[in-house]
Amino acid sequence: MDLMDDHQQYQESLALHALDALDAAEARALEAHLVSCAECRTSLVEWRDATGLLAHASTPAAPSHELRGRILAAARAETRAPQTAASAKVVPMPIASRRSNLWPNLLKIAAAIAIVGLLIGMIVFWRHDVGLQRDIARLTHERNRTADQLARERDARAKEHDAVAMLNSRDTKKMELAGTPTAQNARGTFVFDPKTGRGLLLTEGLPTAPADKAYEVWFIPKGHTPMPGKMFTVDASGQAMVSGEIPLEARANAVIAITLEPKKGSAAPTSAIYLASPGS
């Protein structure tokens, strides 16, 4: 997954993060990203401002009149408290007791060192955790990609399997297609099952189609205009394997032809025939 993808994903999580609705692991990963992404930090501020307005969805209500006084009194009391604490600290220690306080001081220093050590440990673990999460995300992505690839390969194998089964079946009929003067080296085989109408076309030696064109299959029942079939392209050696359904009218007795058409397909052939079954 590249960095822009990551950034895009984090952008999409910002609204939910502003609601504190992300799950813990997702929120941690996003927080780690925010450290290095000013754009996301700015967006998050905007989302938080919007989220804050949700407070208005509640019905305004009045607290008791006494509460105001209690809060102001508590605030006043707090203002005095730190001063008392501060003045207590500057009372000079009797000289005699200074020595005896050496050990407790050493202990305090030791404790401070231990705490710093612990903090460093926590930071190391946290960074390790972020690294692990990134690894997991990458591995998941790779696994998904491999799964996609496997699925594609499985599809291709299933197709080949079907093709072989059709070629070997006693119920199918087989026609050889020959290249016309337009594509002298081309040849092809068309196999179809008259009962189900399933057909399979194998080609080789067809020229590679230009980017805006593709080959189109035509079924031409006796006395009918050509009926369009599937569009296909060929690989470097002119090979293709196309399977599809044959129109009902063309199942009994029809000629198969291949022409080169604009990519989106034509309703009637517009080019010379490249490949055709006998009888055309």
Partner: protein, 190 residues
């Protein structure tokens, strides 16, 4: 004094608070007690607990006003965030969660106490409530569950019996729509 403080911006008041100005604390209390108490009540459904939380909120505002940074969001957002997280902490600590669950997902009731009149006059409040009614109800529901019950996306999915992906999509869509609506109607003040 009162006339003077009502002219000061939220940011000015918080800066005065940071310098230890107690009249600024009184002003900010008078300005936001209704909306903040309404918010805390909506989360806790208990007056006594809500008053305690409101007191803790304003004392935290008093102690930490120096931390407020206008570059990181509006003063209103800062105040509301403190009140909401304190109320949600209290909610999680108390066993009253089951009791309030069903009520909190509902829309605000229409009737308002007479003391709340001046807050209701606030254009912003009206606009937000109106915007919420314009959201599809299933989007609104997820936002309210997250905001007033402090549920995560996974908890919301479990509560509603909907797939997590659906819930995430709804929440994101809801937030985007809400922000658009608020932006159209409140413009720069949002």
């Amino acid at each position: 004094m009162k006339a003077e403080s009502s002219k000061s911006s939220d940011g000015d008041l918080l800066r005065a608070l940071a310098r230890g100005d107690q009249t600024a604390l009184a002003s900010i209390y008078d300005r936001y007690r209704l909306i903040l108490f309404g918010l805390v009540m909506r989360i806790l459904h208990d007056r006594a607990e809500a008053e305690e939380v409101l007191q803790e909120t304003f004392l935290q505002v008093w102690r930490r006003a120096g931390d407020f940074d206008e570059a990181r969001g509006r003063a209103f957002t800062w105040l509301v965030t403190i009140a909401r997280s304190r109320a949600l902490d209290r909610l999680r600590a108390s066993a009253s969660r089951g009791r309030v669950a069903s009520e909190a997902a509902q829309m605000p009731r229409d009737e308002v106490g007479d003391a709340a009149e001046d807050a209701l006059r606030s254009e912003q409040g009206k606009v937000v409530r109106q915007a919420l009614t314009e959201l599809p109800s299933e989007q609104r529901q997820t936002l309210l569950l997250a905001y007033f019950e402090g549920l995560t996306q996974t908890e919301i999915a479990a509560r509603l019996g909907d797939p997590l992906g659906t819930v995430k999509t709804r929440m994101r869509a809801g937030m985007i729509k809400l922000r658009e609506l608020l932006h159209d109607k409140l413009g720069n003040s949002m």
